[in-house]
Amino acid sequence: MLVVDPALPTPPFEQLKQQIADQRLSGELPAGHRLPPVRHLAAELGLAPNTVARAYRELEASGVIETRGRNGSYVTGTRQTADKAAAAAAASYVATVTALGVAPDRAVSLVRGALGLA
């Protein structure tokens, strides 16, 4: 959820920018999350479209989001979100190999093989 309060001393575009960046780091906005179009977000937050466009531009310049042409703006991944997703995939793999009765050493060697490290 994004909150903008015009009564705060921080300019609205800065509030918006900071929240998107923070939520990306915390994982609240996951990698690949599609942000609303500029006019949509401006209408919801009671801001001028230029204000939201400026925040998006600066976020894009700092690599927090990426614009995919007419498909919109998407949150880019971070090290933390990548680690979290990898940990979930590892847990899923462990559950599968355990169910199949594969020995732990064999499971690890399979991963090493898949990574090209064997």
């Binding site: 959820m1 994004l2 009564a7 906005l29 599609r34 209408a43 919801e44 937050l45």
Partner: protein, 275 residues
Amino acid sequence: MVAALSLNAGAFLPAETFAERYRARGVLRPADMPDVDAPSAFLARMRRRERAALGGSVVAVAFVALLAGFGLGPGFQALGFLVFLAVFIGRSLVLAVMSGRETLGSVPGGPRVSRGQVGRLGDHLASWPFALLAVAQLGFLGVFVCAAQGLAPALRAWVWGAAADSLAATAGGWGMARWLVRQPVAAADATELRWSVAVRAQDVSALLLLGPAWAMLVGGVAFVDASGPVRAGGYPLALYVWAYLGVFLLATVAVAAGTRRSTRDGVQGVADARR
């Protein structure tokens, strides 16, 4: 007429009674609403919506009355249901347009919140009951249109007209629902956001129910004496009407259950569904 007025009862309620609908433990609170008190700004917005919806119903009923005055309405028992449907349609369309444009009426200044995403149909409700309803509608209309060949010309024309209109209403309802879920949501804080999202789910449901409810108009001929012993597949037409009504009610219950779940999960549920 009583049923039609009850649909717009919100426009006639005193302010205190109206607010009971939007309290965490309000006695008039619908089951599928958030379990927190709605903020006063939201209440004022709902109040404006109800009054406008009443206006929409009045215009739709006036239109039906005009048609009936020119002899273009049904000349049998379906007129009562047609009036009720007009109330429902007028109300739903006005509410949908007001809901889609709610951010335009927001007073500038003060904090505002956003979900940070564009809504999808699945965020607001389970689509499968409506898909089931659309299939049931198609099947019901198919049987009825085939059986209508044996009806008197006036009734046959009614069946064809009502069937075509209801299919157009279903397509239009889905189109408008898709438009509505993509429109911005107005909210000053997280609580108002939850309420706005819950009310929008109701508006979307109403749009998706328009066509299937309209299809029941076709069934009016099954209860007209002049229709004669028309049967389809060996069964009386009324049986198909009751069967369709049963599916309609089941789907409505499923919709209510799905909406309740998404409302209980709230904004966080919407966010989780994205992941």
